[in-house]
Symmetry: D3
Subunit: 136 residues, 6 copies
């Protein structure tokens, strides 16, 4: 069993916002992170997959293929977007890094199964001081 | 003559947008960077000042004082904000990193003169792959 | 189950020193790391907590609250201090990164339980070439 | 139980190449990574060991000893070398990062057992965008 | 006058080798860096250009255009290549980072003039511990 | 003219302290940075030299020679030391990063002249948020 990790990046706008609450309640719970005019980040996304090395090929997975799947199904939907407004798989959700990691797992996992690797971890770094990890 | 640099950070939303152009023209020139729903970045700001070492104190400037001036006059206005909409010193300007560097210079320079240091460089890193430097 | 990590930093002096040994024995075992005049580091501390996402809030924990607990109970006692001499929870211990990680776990864990998250890992990076992880 | 990690680095040439295939088949599977004239990387190697803190010494392992074992048995054989051509423990193998991680584990593990620590993980970062982890 | 910098990366093989010297003399002067079997690096390339902000556009240069010129004329010739053997603009030269920086300047500068910016600096980082800067 | 930079690192203890002042005055001016029990940092030192490429050798300077001079004359005196107490070239000086940069210039410059390169800049990074540059 071996683990391989691919990093991709995206820059996006978001706000912490619970649509069932008033603006005042959102502001009191989430502070500046709930600014109605949005703010944004350079997110770093690490996708870790695991499995057995394919004997003939000598690797677990073609990293270019892995990268292109992540770009096609995840990055293209997030990069230079407003996550609250424009990202189908985040519709109706509070746009925390936690929820984003889970949603990316759910979006990406079926495509990884098709190329015969197991998704092990979705890690998202929001700033240099915090990151989230989800293991399914 | 010695140079000392202080780094501060802010996370903000923006878009490249020329208010004298139509949305279509903005989109054709700036592409995804002009997304009307905004996107954002973790910006890193380096403020470099220069001068003679103050003999009795043994340093050029109290870094905590320098940091607090940058936070008060610059970071507090940018962090978790929408730069196009909410930042007074960017009103009516195209929110490029270039224009942001010049505006930060103009905002900050008078306060640095009051503490007896010369502003040498404003550097803004927008992503790990690009940064702007302005020397006045 | 989701994992979230907060980074905090501190700069401190220390030495590797076993108080039950002579200076000579300390020097022979720990070399320059046991310099009686001290040396120091910029330490990076990563606190990883785990748990279920709080449904109404959409996150595991308020990162500002987590950060302020780490600052209040850990960073304020270590930053710009001599770890051997001034840090109550390291008294009488050999000030290795290993012992520091365990002591930080023991100091911090009760406060994290009060905000309803489980401490998962204390990671301390001493230099760019080494770090310690403790999982309780 | 505590975990401690040591980073070492090496710069080396390699190519992805399955000696049982023709050059054409290698090129079609591995693309530019199979360039017959080689390419290279700055590899970062993280060796994580685990165990109980040695009570009298107050640490898990002398980091200088750990570092010197990694340098003697691994780095000296890889740094400024051609991994396909010159590294005994990679002879006859497809020089992927995955295979390199496993081979380093097998080379290093007996020497670590001699100094009474358990090897936990071999991590190799090939570029800033990908890394491999092997846990035995 | 404003300065903007774009980073691109390439991974390549090379050796320090003076073709007018014997292998023995090369080895004695350049040591392991002259290994006849090659070694390699992840190079980071920073291209800094300078000029006036274009008033209507609000920026100095379209970063995507700058990046694509660097990729087309420089990176595509270096990435996953052997610099000594395969790179036309390094033919017959000692492949030091110094000579590489100068050659990249000479290759790139005419194309930058066509998009109306002045090349200010070519910086190449070969490892985390050394880099070269050339200002023309 | 080409510029080449070598990075070296050292970990040391220090305090900001003007020996002509009382402890109280030192504390009031320098705050926690003047803690009488010391604190410390992982310092990063960048030495930039400049000159013409030596035609026959194809480089400005042998980086290993440059590194070994920096290690011999600077790093060996600072690493795992108390800068205020143990470093001859800092005796009687306020141990600010500014004064350290100037002292390192004065120590190192004669040795660099002997190997026929011009010292261009001494840069010291004290934490990830601040650094000093001295150009002589």
């Amino acid at each position: 069993m071996i683990f391989i990790t691919r990093r991709e990046r995206f820059s996006a706008a978001h706000r912490l916002f619970n649509p069932e609450w008033s603006e005042e309640k959102n502001a009191s719970f989430y502070g500046g992170c709930s600014n109605p005019n949005w703010h944004g980040h350079n997110y770093e996304l690490w996708i870790t997959v695991k499995g057995e090395i394919k004997q003939e090929l000598g690797y677990l997975v073609d990293l270019k293929l892995l990268g292109s799947l992540v770009k096609e199904h995840i990055i293209s939907k997030l990069d230079h977007k407003n996550i609250n407004v424009e990202v189908d798989f985040m519709k109706g959700k509070m746009v925390s890094t936690e929820n984003l990691a889970i949603a990316i797992w759910e979006e990406l996992e079926p495509f990884l199964r098709q190329i015969d690797v197991d998704l092990h971890c979705v890690k998202i770094q929001e700033t240099e001081n915090n990151f989230v990890e989800y293991y399914g």
